[in-house]
């Protein structure tokens, strides 16, 4: 009996160490349920998960990059460019008259945008050895510019409307609200599996902690980095599909303001920006948390600027907590070891 309670206590300690956001999230959920009117309504829960789904998908990809100690600014441009190219195919291209085919081709094209941007980033970071900070900033600028130019070439407006109805299923329209949620869950599960159970995932952590050790241990560092950037691009492209379908519009500004939320979710979740620590469990929690904050604050009618202030403070606090936790953990471990000797 005693060992069992000990086990639970240890488990709780582990959770607090690996994902300090979890108890905070739980408390916020309970508070929201009790004090925020309509929070626990079916409609709001549906909205909550729908809003979390695109963010989760794009965050999954970026988590890989952050675990490797890098950053990927270009995901927002993948969202935007994918959106206008997909919308163009579904609205203006010759195959637009055949919606099922247009939708299929559009999705493939959107994913291809993610693949291309990801591979360019991968080449720049892995082969040319550019810092990801610079490489992805460059691709972000270039491709979001392409998105705006492309949109202005095909339409006078700032967005492309008139997408086929069938496409909106992917955005969870009407009774299909489970579709994007399930897609997001599937994407997350796939990434989680990739990170935890494959050689690639294990190599990624090793490269993130110490690339020199990883190289000498025979890990193909370049390949791993290429794959990381590729996955990040692909996940952003998938998020582009979901977000375009949900907003029912192709927009060159689709991803413009998303980056802060992406990084906020990943950092608040507990993944270290220095690389090597954290993972997709943390990102999932972070995404839920950021979505929750936005949702409840809107529900309470809090000024948007106040929400941004709160987000900023949360990032600071969670980074600090992570640091304190890390140091504390290390110190206690060392002392325990000393004691054992």
């Amino acid at each position: 009996m005693k060992s069992e309670t000990n086990g639970i206590r240890k488990g709780l300690q582990n959770i607090c160490r690996d994902a300090p956001i979890l108890p905070i999230l739980a408390v916020c959920l309970v508070i929201s349920c009790i004090f925020v009117p309509n929070f626990a309504s079916f409609y709001n829960i549906k909205v909550f998960f729908l809003q979390a789904s695109d963010l989760l998908v794009v965050c999954c990809g970026v988590t890989f990059v952050v675990l490797n100690g890098g950053i990927d600014f270009s995901v927002t441009s993948v969202l935007s460019l994918g959106s206008v190219i997909g919308a163009y195919i579904m609205v203006f291209s010759p195959i637009a008259s055949n919606p099922p085919m247009a939708i299929a081709v559009a999705i493939i094209a959107m994913l291809a945008v993610g693949a291309v941007v990801g591979l360019i980033n991968g080449f720049a970071v892995a082969v040319l050895k550019m810092p990801s900070f610079i490489a992805t900033l460059a691709t972000q600028l270039a491709f979001s510019g392409v998105a705006v130019l492309f949109c202005s070439l095909v339409t006078e407006k700032t967005s492309i409307t008139g997408l086929p109805d069938g496409f909106f299923i992917l955005g969870g329209e009407g009774g299909y609200f489970m579709v994007p949620i399930l897609i997001a869950v599937a994407a997350w599960t796939f990434c989680f599996w990739l990170l935890k159970y494959t050689r690639f995932g294990r190599s990624l952590y090793a490269v993130g902690v110490n690339p020199k050790t990883a190289y000498i241990s025979g890990i193909p560092v370049k390949k791993v980095i290429m794959l990381i950037m590729f996955i990040s691009g692909m996940m952003a492209a998938l998020a582009s599909v979901l977000s375009t379908a949900r907003n029912q519009v192709g927009m060159p500004s689709l991803g413009d303001k998303l980056f802060i939320s992406i990084m906020a979710a990943i950092i608040v979740g507990g993944t270290s920006t220095a690389g090597g620590f954290g993972g997709l469990k943390q990102t999932l929690l972070g995404v839920l948390f950021i979505t929750l904050i936005n949702n409840t604050m809107n529900l309470l009618g809090v000024d948007w600027y106040v929400i941004t202030v709160i987000q900023g403070i949360l990032i600071l606090v969670s980074t600090m907590m992570g640091m304190v936790n890390g140091i504390g953990k290390r110190k206690t471990k060392m002392m325990v070891l000393e004691a054992k000797k």
């Binding site: 159970y197 494959t198 050689r199 690639f200 294990r202 190599s203 952590y205 090793a206 902690v209 110490n210 020199k212 050790t213 990883a214 190289y215 000498i216 241990s217 025979g218 890990i219 193909p220 090597g276 620590f277 290390r330 471990k333 060392m334 002392m335 325990v336 070891l337 000393e338 004691a339 054992k340 000797k341």
Partner: protein, 495 residues
């Protein structure tokens, strides 16, 4: 009778209810050099941390030069005139030699660092210790031995009354060591008290006036160095009879050549090295710092790309040697710098151990077979006797040096290699763990593995190797077989 520089009485310390120090009593006379020896885990680090104000003691009293001393922070220790030279280097690799020497107190003139002054003073220090560096050189460009010397000169900048050395010579060459001992003796002459912690008993005997042995949190004995023998000290340290440090394991060398290099040249460090290794052989490479021994080993493994020359593994010429290529050919490489290149320090031991074996543990789809992985890791921990409670959560940095080194060995052993390249395999490892590592090496050779081992400890090479190659200025200057092993002959080739 000399004054007492440092007196410890009844020092006790427990961590989480486990007693680590059981009432330490020790007094060291002013101007004395006291050697403190003991296995890793005997409590040396804890004792030093108590003296240094890093952790607080549970009971007991301390006196420094007759005055009561109870430090709360490391700064208190510094104010009391106690300075440390640590085993782990504490230099900023991105700064210059001069900047590192002054890092704790830059001379400032009107808010601006007086670079001229620090450069000048640093130049004087460099001359004093005869270091082959310039004050403006970045630390990252310097080899480990020179870094250690800079660390020592940095500690001396504080003009301490009591100076504590923690394994200062592990990365030093013979010549540098001589110089260091000369310096230490000079300090002694100036009335500075020295506590010298080391695994290398020869050094302790050569240098110290008294030798105290620490075991399991107790001071077992304090003797004058001239009154005891090395064997007696070892016996006291390990608490058991140790007839021989080097294991005698029967093995046979075949004529099959498994590894060969021809005229390897790399930059200006390696100037045409050719050698052949036979199955079951243990070959040592001895050389002073800067002789190119480490650089050659790294080139042979593929970490550095040779400018010219051939590498032949199992009769097959390797066109482009990379670590991955070497691993595929079942070559292992134990680095001299396990913190920077050997381990994922902050990651669990489990992940460290399975790093090299990942490809063989995963199928075509790249999915890791967790069951097999766990089994192999458990085997490695058991075979190498790595002291770890929970390999899946305990990080590599929490281990002692010896156990860390065993983890580095373990990650290679898990890939079942046929050829081992070992660079300073026992650096920073206590004597008990050393014996274990020698045993591991000998057993591997007995099982048909080939071992190429670089070391700056001549005795260790003589004890373990079948033949020793001596390097100097990037070339092999001689080869000595087991029957003709002779320290003098080796040194002559190296100098």
């Amino acid at each position: 009778m000399k004054n007492t520089a440092l007196r410890l009485s009844g020092i006790e310390k427990s961590f989480s209810g486990v007693k680590v120090l059981h009432g330490i009593n020790l007094s060291i006379g002013e101007g004395e050099i006291c050697g403190l020896v003991g296995e890793n885990g005997a409590g040396k680090s804890t004792l030093m941390n108590v003296i240094g104000g890093v952790i607080s003691k549970d009971a007991g009293t301390m006196e420094v030069l007759g005055e009561a001393y109870s430090p709360v922070t490391p700064a208190d220790a510094a104010n009391a005139g106690i300075a440390f030279v640590h085993q782990e280097l504490n230099l900023f690799t991105n700064l210059t030699v001069a900047e590192n020497m002054f890092i704790e107190a830059f001379p400032v003139h009107m808010g601006k660092i007086n670079y001229q002054k620090i450069r000048k003073t640093a130049q004087e220090k460099i001359k004093e210790y005869d270091l082959p560096v310039a004050p403006d050189m970045k630390i990252e460009a310097l080899p480990a031995g020179i870094r250690q010397m800079i660390e020592i000169s940095k500690a001396l900048m504080k003009k301490p009354r009591i100076l504590i050395f923690d394994e200062p010579t592990t990365s030093l060459s013979f010549k540098e060591k001589e110089k260091l001992f000369h310096t230490i003796n000079g300090l002694k002459g100036n009335g500075i008290t020295i506590i010298y912690i080391s695994h290398i008993l020869e050094d302790v005997f050569a240098l110290c006036d008294t030798i105290s042995v620490l075991r399991d949190g107790n001071i077992i004995s304090t003797d004058n160095a001239c009154d005891v023998t090395k064997g007696e000290i070892i016996q006291k340290m390990v608490g058991r009879e140790m007839n021989q440090i080097y294991p005698a394991i029967e093995k046979s060398i075949t004529d099959e050549i498994v590894f060969e290099t021809k005229d390897i040249v790399w930059q200006n460090k390696v100037a045409g090295v050719s050698l052949t290794l036979k199955r079951g052989e243990i070959v040592g490479i001895y050389g002073l710092m800067g002789s190119g021994r480490t650089e050659f080993l790294r080139t042979a493994f593929g970490i550095e790309k040779p400018d010219s020359g051939e590498i032949i593994v199992h009769g097959e010429r390797i066109k482009k040697q990379t670590p991955l290529q070497s691993i595929k050919k079942r070559i292992a490489f134990v680095t001299e710098d396990r913190h920077q290149e050997g381990l994922l320090l902050q990651k669990p031991i489990f992940e460290n151990l399975s790093l090299v074996a990942l490809p063989s543990l995963s199928g075509k789809a790249g999915v890791v077979n967790r069951k097999r992985e766990r089994k192999l890791v458990e085997e490695a921990i058991e075979n190498l006797k790595i002291k770890v409670s929970d390999p899946e959560s305990q990080t590599a940095e929490s281990l002692s040096g010896g156990n860390q080194q065993k983890v580095v060995f373990g990650k290679w052993v898990m890939n079942a290699p046929g050829i081992f390249f070992l660079d300073e395999p026992t650096r920073g490892v206590d004597i008990g763990a050393k014996f274990e590592i020698y045993t591991i090496i000998a057993e591997m050779a007995a099982n048909g593995a080939t071992i190429l081992m670089v070391s700056s400890e001549m005795e260790e090479l003589i004890g373990t190797c079948d033949r020793i190659l001596v390097m100097k200025e990037g070339r092999i200057t001689g080869e000595i077989g087991k029957e003709e092993f002779n320290q003098e002959a080796i040194i002559r080739l190296a100098l």
